[in-house]
Amino acid sequence: MSELAIPTLEAQVKSERSAIGSLRMVQTASILVIALVIVSPLFMLLIASLKDDRFQILADMGSFRAFWVSNPTLSNFAEIGNLSGELAFGRYLVNSLIILASTVGAGLIVNSMAGFVLAWGSLRGRALILSLVIALYVIPQESIIMPLVIMVSRAGMTDTFAVQIVPWIASPLYIFLFYQFFAQLPKELFEAAQIDGASVFRIYRSIFLPLSLPALATVSILMGIESWNQYLWPILVTQTDYARPIAVAIATFFGQDSIYWDRAMAASVLMMIPILALYLAFQRWFVSSFVGSAVKG
């Protein structure tokens, strides 16, 4: 580059700074507007959870009164906390956390390894395997659930934690997600490590995985939500509260004839909290990528 380029670049940066200033304003304004639109429906949920009369909640539905509470109370939350016996929420909460942690933990390893091999492996027929994996994602859970029930009950897995974890560890969706993330990383990264004599597993473990924090965070969050919200499957394969997850307990509030709106709403709010915590914990991993420096180094 000639010397002339330097003042040009400086001038450009300067003029861009003012442009960036106004761009920031537009961005901040639009983010506020979008946030308002996105969050306001959820406000209704929070409001309803603070009303203690389920008939009043029902009567308020369908008008703006659903967004207003005159004397808020936490009694619904207290009531849920005090439930005991077959419906002690603590038990279900712990079960859900165990299932979530195991599914996500194992899922990260299994799916990322598969995604890595599909992206960078030398195996012949990788494209075909990838297509098959995507094809498997097409299958709706509803259409395999009954054969699966028969399979796991014959295997004697009914009413265990394992039956709620093992079937959902490997997932076409997350293999595909890891695949696309790994495939996006520069080729030089793999080649440089290969020349240094690193094995495939080592390249995956020591180079690609540390660079994949955003992908690992994404999969953790998405798998976590999926596991947390599992409903039909646990009902079919569990009998007692020994291993049943929280979603099943919440469903009791949505009764047959009349719904316990007050506690149902409070329980729904409570159910969101652990997943929100998981999300907030993992979203820190959305950090600027070190890929560039890794390539140079």
Binding site: G62, L83, E86, L87, V149, S153, V248, G255, Q256, D257
Partner: protein
């Protein structure tokens, strides 16, 4: 309830499994009953299996397929015939205490009876019904006659006349809520609208020949649904997407409500004394009202049917169980429970509703094809309420029902019944 972890201690005990649905109050109540039953019968261990009502059918098939049927199960009455025909329930008359059996109302017996052998396969403390709720102020404003008993229920002419008058009355947005808001593929459709067909002189299926073509698509049914379609197109009925609270929401936009017995608690909470409870109108020569709820049966898989029967008897007589059912405004299925429920006893606000049980209640078709029958009928009602031709929609539904029966070889021995 003993947890699975303690199984070793209870080795010598007989274990019976009880599958049920219900809201948290019911779940807690069953837990208490199980404990008390275990205290009274130290050699028995009761294991409760809860399944939410919206996944109950799926849970039942999963239990069948994985050979884990419970001893005692709660079931929705209209599915009884299907379960008995499939061989999953056993007669309970000799297993449950005689005083409980003798205590059953006619409607309760009807919902638990299998038409082939006329034997009893299930029993419940409660039953259900649908009545016509009215807003007293509006009805007085149009000078409507308020029926006092099932015998002087409104006729079709009266009913439609009042709807028309209400439609122009100040403050009334919709003359009636028929709870379309519950959804179009919910049992409510068949449960609540079926009796209108029966009152008009037809049915979902001929209960002798078990053929739907010629009955559901016959003139009386077409006429009855055309009538209902007219209410909808006139704007007399609360639309499907206006919620289920218009009878008691602010301003009381709906004047009448064709609602279940459970609706009374919801409405009374904000309307207080402004509600009148009336019997369902007569749309033809005779009145008709629905019945049926979740009742208790003993499965053929049970190794201890005697203990299972003992548990059901114990539960139905249990004071706490009855107290909770009363608090939940449960509709009595046992006479002694009716006498003990101020809401439904003579002079009570829902007395008319209970009167229907002995005078007009008709069970939904007790046929193993019921899942197909109700599904086809719901489809037809949605079609008709949205402007479709009643005759065409009902013909399609009737053909679908007959097709299902044919595919199952007539569900023998139902095909031989004449």
């Amino acid at each position: 309830m003993a947890s699975a972890a303690l199984g070793g201690v209870a080795e010598a005990k007989t274990v019976i499994h009880v599958m049920h649905q219900g809201d948290p109050g019911w779940v807690a109540t069953y837990g208490e009953i199980a404990k008390r039953f275990e205290a009274a019968n130290p050699d028995v261990d009761v294991e409760l299996i809860y399944a939410p009502h919206d996944a109950y059918n799926e849970k039942f098939s999963a239990a069948v397929m994985s050979k884990q049927l419970p001893d005692v199960m709660e079931l929705d009455a209209p599915f009884l015939a299907n379960y008995v025909w499939s061989g999953y329930l056993q007669p309970i008359k000799l297993l449950v205490d005689k005083d409980v059996i003798d205590d059953m109302t006619e409607s309760n017996i009807a919902q638990g009876t299998y038409p082939i052998d006329k034997d009893l396969y299930a029993v419940g403390l409660t039953d259900s019904s649908v009545v016509l709720y009215g807003n007293k102020k509006y009805l007085e404003a149009i000078g409507a006659r308020i029926p006092k008993s099932v015998d002087d229920a409104w006729t079709r002419e009266e009913f439609e006349g009042y709807l028309e008058k209400l439609s122009t009355l100040e403050g009334v947005k919709w003359p009636i809520d028929t709870f379309r808001g519950y959804g179009i593929k919910t049992e409510w459709i068949t449960y609540a609208y079926g009796p209108i067909l029966q009152s008009a002189g037809c049915d979902l299926i001929d209960r002798k020949t078990w053929k739907s073509v010629g009955t559901l698509d016959g003139d009386p049914c077409v006429e009855a649904l055309t009538m209902m379609q007219k209410w909808v197109t006139n704007g007399w009925v609360v639309p499907q997407s206006s919620g289920t609270n218009q009878f008691f929401a602010e301003g009381h936009p709906a004047a009448l409500a064709l609602g279940g017995h459970w609706f009374y608690a919801e409405a009374a909470a904000s309307m207080k004394d402004d509600i009148v409870v009336m019997p369902l109108p007569k749309f033809g020569p005779k009145g008709a009202s629905p019945n049926g709820t979740w009742i208790w049966g003993i499965t053929t898989a049970s190794e201890h049917p005697d203990i299972a029967g003992k548990f059901i008897s114990f539960m139905l007589k249990d004071k706490l169980y009855r107290d909770y059912a009363r608090e939940d405004s449960g509709y009595p299925g046992l006479k002694s429970f009716a006498a003990d429920s101020p809401l439904y006893a003579a002079g009570g606000p829902m007395a008319v509703a209970f009167e229907q049980a002995s005078k007009t209640a008709i069970a939904r078709p007790p046929h193993p094809a019921y899942p197909a029958i109700t599904s086809a009928f719901m489809g037809a009602v949605d079609e008709i309420f949205n402007g479709g031709d009643a005759k065409a929609a009902l013909s399609k539904a009737a053909e679908k029902i007959d097709e299902d029966i044919e595919e199952n070889d007539g569900y023998p021995p139902f095909d031989e019944q004449q």
